[in-house]
């Protein structure tokens, strides 16, 4: 397999052909903001937070969906990128009902961390205040669509790792929503194995363990690495 040499933020890095810019940067210690990407699951380029600049190309490219090429000159940080990311996160806040102060994931939330790291202290677009339901019909977990950012990590882990594919999305645009099985209440979805992987990968408080009070939902995402390593390399590790 060939190796590509490229420059990211002025640093010369190498990556195997076919690997994404995101993973190559990650391995080189360069962190690019992201929300839908999570190591171990396929990428879908949904959140657009990992957009980067590539010299000679006018448009921005999602690092998770762009393969490394020989001689690429990539910038992951610029005023333009910062402005884009900031607006994307503001739009996410405006689109849902994200109230950190009373959220189970307060203090342990990727969306909140992103807002902090991008210096967001207010939202410049109008809040939509959508009416979205809370599905607490599952015996162990709750789905609060008010806090969903449609990263679809839950859907992918359910499909690609657990193999159940209970969760998916339905609708388009502002009507997009996460559903269980054929759009029924989660508690009646027969395909669900109650494994809880979806809860662990969810970046916000949209999916959480029942019984969690404000700020009590912490998530452990390391399990994905064990499973993926076991599946792909047939190595059973425990950190």
């Amino acid at each position: 397999m060939s190796v590509k040499t490229l420059t990211i933020n002025g640093k010369t890095v190498t990556g195997l052909a076919g690997t994404s810019l995101f993973n190559t940067a990650w391995e080189a210690g360069i962190r690019i903001p992201r929300l839908c990407h999570i190591g171990g699951l396929s990428d879908i380029g949904a959140c657009r937070l990992c957009l980067v600049e590539i010299e000679g190309r006018p448009r921005l490219h999602p690092a998770c969906m762009t393969e490394v090429e020989e001689g690429m000159v990539v910038r992951t940080e610029s005023e333009r990128l910062h402005a884009h990311r900031k607006l994307i996160v503001e739009l996410l806040f405006a689109e849902g009902n994200h109230v950190c102060a009373v959220c189970v994931s307060n203090g342990h939330c990727e969306l909140q961390d992103l807002a902090t790291s991008l210096g967001i202290d207010h939202v410049r677009v109008a809040y939509q205040h959508p009416r979205r339901p809370v599905d607490a019909s599952h015996a162990r977990f709750t789905l609060d669509l008010n806090r969903c950012v449609f990263c679809r990590r839950c859907m992918r882990v359910c499909d690609e790792v657990e193999g159940a594919h209970t969760l998916d999305v339905a609708g388009r645009g502002a009507e997009l929503r996460l559903i269980a099985d054929l759009g029924q209440s989660w508690g009646t979805a027969e395909s669900c194995t109650s494994c809880g992987k979806c809860v662990q990968v969810c970046p916000t408080g949209a999916l959480f363990a029942k019984g969690s009070a404000v700020g009590e939902m912490t998530k452990n995402r390391a399990f994905l690495q064990y499973i993926v390593t076991a599946r792909e390399k047939h190595e059973w590790i425990r950190k």
Binding site: A101, A136, G211, A213, V214
Partner: protein, 477 residues
Amino acid sequence: MARRLLIDPVSRIEGHAKVTIELDDDGTVRDARFHVTEFRGFEKLCEGRPFEEMPGLMARVCGICPVSHILASSKAGDQLLGVDVPPAAVAQRRLANYAQLLQSHALSFFHLSGPDLLLGFDADPATRHIFGLAATEPDFARRGIRLRQFGQRLIELLGGRRVHPPWSAPGGVNQPFSAAARDEARGWLPEAYQTLELARSRFRPLLDGFREEVDHLGDFPSLFLGTVSADGELEYYDGDIRIVDGEGNVVADGLSPQRYATYLGEASESWTFIKNPFYKPMGYPSGMYRVGPLARLNVAATAGTPRADRELRELRHHAGDAAGTVCASFHYHWARLIEMVHAVERIEELLDDAVLLGTTIRAKAMLNHREGIGVSEAPRGTLFHHYRVDENGCIVTANLLIATAQNNLAMNQAVKQTAQRFVRGHTPAEGMLNRVEHAIRCYDPCLSCSTHALGQMPLVLELRDRQGGLLERIARD
């Protein structure tokens, strides 16, 4: 010509309100009303939310007394789970409640009412606030601020932060109390006792000069309601409801807080956003009752701690009737002082109890009941949180019976009585109107968390004719 005086906003209270005073042609007061002008809607906005979130959500009702809402909400959640809360968690919750009582009362006594009491009702409003008090009585003001700091610090030691600590939840609390935190809290006690002794020695001689205010800033018989322990002592976390009348007769005793809806009703009026709770057997508005510091001291046989009991005997001897019942709203201040002493004594007891450091602090369970009612004594009076949930634990209806609302009928009567006594003529002196405001301050109403009033908000006085036309506007900054 008949005129209406408008005090808007009422200053040095927690929240937004105004007072209207209707004057007859000759300038005598015909009627007066206390209007709460803000709307929060918490009972509605929590519908559909999982009940485990309620303590954190309900804490946001108020920035002054979030602990009270957290506790009432947690207790309602305990019932939905159907669990017995571990003793260490109960001890922590009790400790937080006393800390809350201490800091809130210190705010009322030293910051909000202190300027009137020590500088005088007729003092220049430009300096009649906590900063003016700090300039003339720096030690008194500093100690008051420090006393409040103690309460706030204790809440922080328990819950991780001073305001809206997300630490108590259905089933218990989420972190053990450390020995280091206990030792730090103990270190505050001597200063707290000293400050309260100073406040007592400074406050008591002032009462002689306030005889007219004592007699006319809301001195009337009414029912008093509060929780008491099985021994009839002051009780702020558990206990049953006792109601006494203005002469000290026990009207009802051993009432289960769980059955509050059978004996307490809530009436609405078009001129205020606050509800008007009343004692059902006596109807509305005859069933007016008072809650809070004075009510608790009127319903309890004893405080249950030595220093507070000594002071309670003094209060009953000097200000009570034959049965020791105190009806003058002005004595809410004295009652607050006694409760602060009691709170510090109880804090000391709890800090000395090894149970407090227990590490079994949370009872876990699934949803087992569909209805929960949590009750605690908040600084301003008895607080009820009542939730009904669906089969998945999401809130279907919530009803909050807030202490300040329960005092609303009495506050209106106090405002009217004060206005009738002190307000004269179509252009009353500022000090007269300040007394009307002070009748409200006696109850330390907490109208929301929206105003962390330190010092003084601007007061606007508008003179209006019967048709509501503006005749004159007087503003102070």
